[in-house]
């Protein structure tokens, strides 16, 4: 395709594949990693098609600067694409991206970057960095039709997202709530919540609220409703914290995380903040939980309704749950920001590989500072058995779990029908919520298992690509695993009762 006259032309994606004479394959999350003994890459020839082209950044690309508080010895820098995808890149790549302005050719860029670095970089080397590293990630514009640029597809990510507050509304809400992050307000909230907790747990107790629930289970609806409001307010806390630091929160919504429904706030823009700003964003949700509990305590002072105290206790449980660092809750982001490693789950495979006797040393591990590497490795050592046992249990007992869920839903449906016939509509509503949650758990368990199977198949296909013997081995191993699983389910009697 000919470049548009008068406009700086981009680079051709097709040409990138040709230049490297490689099998065309999807771009992976990490652009390239090599071992020391690997031969140097071949530079694009000086007379290759389009070497004199003037590169330009893709539309909407934003250069965010250095990732602050990084756990890497050489702090990486950040670039954000128009679609919101943030890319972390090494310093030299970032310097090259910074010098691309749509008017400089590779020789001019090389000259400027050489001055920045204090080392000599050639035009061909700049061309290589652009075509092999920046172009596949969608940072530099391609001259041909825009191809699909890679997007992060992280492990254990939120799925099936729906919007509750648009980005604009979330920003308005965040801006309105930012005064809650002023120093004196924070101190007042923290002192007050300590006082309320001391009174509630050491003096008053939760017996009154529990007795109310036992007398009238419908009160659970109120507690559940307050719990949902608390969760939504929690998300507003993240948005407000993000906004207070100077970044723009994205939308607030609801989705499915593993098997659970979950509210979420997109605070991707907080990558640009300092470590303190990111931590404020992370902790904003828990802080707003504290504010919410104070509001409940105030309502209790006015109404003496013990249910409100029960809701405070439930909010504490939510907060504790949020501190879990092994799934993408607040605790995960807090840990990640404390050590300056933005995506801990992406370190699992490199750390495991690095630990193997003949494992490849991955720059994502070797580039980390010692303290960050120790914490990340410890986290990996904890998360692998936890996730493996959780997922392994689910797979091993899938028929039994789903039968149990199905029976439970049937029983709830029966009870709901009885409640409707008895004109106990509130109770019927509680039962209906129960059925919905059970159905969600059932669907979620199947979704998790099929997702796991899909990932394993993709891994097997990638491992055996172009190698028939490996493909045969992978297929045989897959079939053997399926047969063993079916035998286990049958011997356990897990199909009885279906």
């Amino acid at each position: 395709m000919d470049p548009v006259p008068g406009r700086p032309s981009g680079y051709s994606r097709r040409r990138v594949v040709d230049m490297h004479t490689r099998e065309e394959q999807p771009v992976t999350a990490v652009a390239e990693h090599v071992t020391a003994g690997r031969p140097a890459p071949v530079l694009p020839a000086a007379d290759a098609p389009g070497p004199g082209q003037v590169p330009r950044l893709a539309d909407g690309v934003e250069l965010l600067g250095e990732y602050q508080g990084s756990g890497y010895a050489q702090p990486p820098s950040l670039v954000r694409r128009a679609d919101g995808q943030v890319i972390q890149m090494s310093a030299l790549l970032y310097r090259v991206a910074c010098r691309i302005d749509g008017s400089r050719d590779p020789a001019a860029i090389a000259g400027l970057v050489s001055e920045d670095l204090g080392r000599s970089l050639t035009a061909d080397q700049v061309r290589y960095l652009i075509s092999a590293k920046l172009l596949p990630l969608g940072v530099v514009a391609a001259e041909d039709a825009p191809a699909a640029v890679p997007k992060a597809n992280p492990l254990l990510a939120l799925r099936a997202r729906g919007t509750l507050l648009s980005e604009r509304a979330a920003n308005v809400a965040g801006a309105l709530l930012t005064p809650l992050f002023r120093g004196p307000v924070v101190v007042a909230v923290l002192v007050s919540i300590v006082a309320v907790d001391w009174w509630l747990f050491a003096v008053h107790g939760l017996g009154g609220g529990m007795r109310q629930v036992l007398r009238d289970p419908v009160i659970l609806l109120i507690v559940g409703g307050l719990s949902l409001v608390s969760a939504m307010f929690h998300e507003c806390g993240h948005a407000a914290g993000c906004r207070y630091g100077g970044a723009r929160p994205g939308k607030i919504g609801v989705g499915i995380y593993l098997v659970w429904p979950a509210f979420f706030t997109n605070v991707t823009d907080s990558y640009r903040l300092s470590r303190a700003g990111r931590l404020r964003t992370d902790l904003g949700g828990l802080y707003f939980n504290a504010v919410f509990m104070l509001a409940l305590a105030g309502l209790y002072a006015a109404t003496s309704s013990e249910v409100l105290l029960l809701a405070i206790a439930f909010t504490h449980l939510e907060m504790l749950e949020q501190l879990m660092p092994f799934v993408r809750f607040d605790g995960y982001f807090i840990l990640s920001d404390l050590i300056g490693v933005p995506d801990l789950f992406a370190r699992v495979a490199p750390i495991v590989k690095s630990a193997l006797p003949r494992g490849r040393r991955d720059p994502r591990v070797t580039g980390l500072r010692r303290s960050a590497r120790i914490v990340a490795t410890t986290w990996v050592l904890c998360v692998i058995p936890l996730l493996a046992s959780g997922l392994g249990y689910l797979v091993l007992y899938l028929p039994a779990v789903n039968l149990a869920l199905w029976n439970s839903a049937s029983l709830q449906a029966h009870l709901m029908t009885a409640a409707v016939h008895g004109h106990r509509y509130a109770m019927a509503a509680v039962d209906a919520i129960g059925i919905a949650l059970i159905t969600l758990s059932l669907a979620g368990s199947l979704y998790v298992v099929t997702g796991l199977a899909r990932r394993l198949i993709v891994l097997g296909r990638r491992w055996s690509a172009g190698r028939p013997a490996r493909r045969l081995l992978a297929g045989a191993a897959g079939l053997a695993a399926l047969a063993a699983l079916a035998a286990f389910w049958t011997l356990q009697g897990q199909f009885r009762g279906w």
Binding site: A29, V30, A31, E32, A36, A40, P41, L43, Q88, M89, S90, L93, L117, R119, S120, L121, T122, Q125, K133, P150, A152, A157, P217, L220, A231, H234, Y257, V259, A262, F264, T265, V267, T268, Y271, T281, D282, G285, F314, L317, E321, F333, D343, A346, R364, L387, G390, Y393, L394, V401, L405, N407, L411, L415, M416, M427, D431, I433, G434, L437, S445
Partner: protein
């Protein structure tokens, strides 16, 4: 002025970061609020996935309201 080598260039990396999505999960609202998790026999919670299916009947492992309130 020293020259940047191609080996160095190849070690230049770029990595897609996942969207930062803070979550407020309804896990214990879906599990913990069910006051019938006692089930029958020695049921056990499956940790992260919060379902119960070990040793004993699996009836009514997740229920609310007019089920078996503790």
């Amino acid at each position: 002025m020293s020259t940047v080598t191609m080996q160095e260039l190849e070690l230049e990396t770029a990595e897609l970061l996942p969207a930062r999505e803070t979550l407020s999960c309804c896990s214990h609202r879906s599990g913990g609020n069910s006051f019938t998790q006692v089930g029958y026999g020695n049921t056990a919670q499956a940790g992260l996935l919060n379902v119960s299916a070990l040793n004993g009947s699996f009836d009514n492992i997740l229920s609310l309201g007019s089920g078996n309130i503790l």
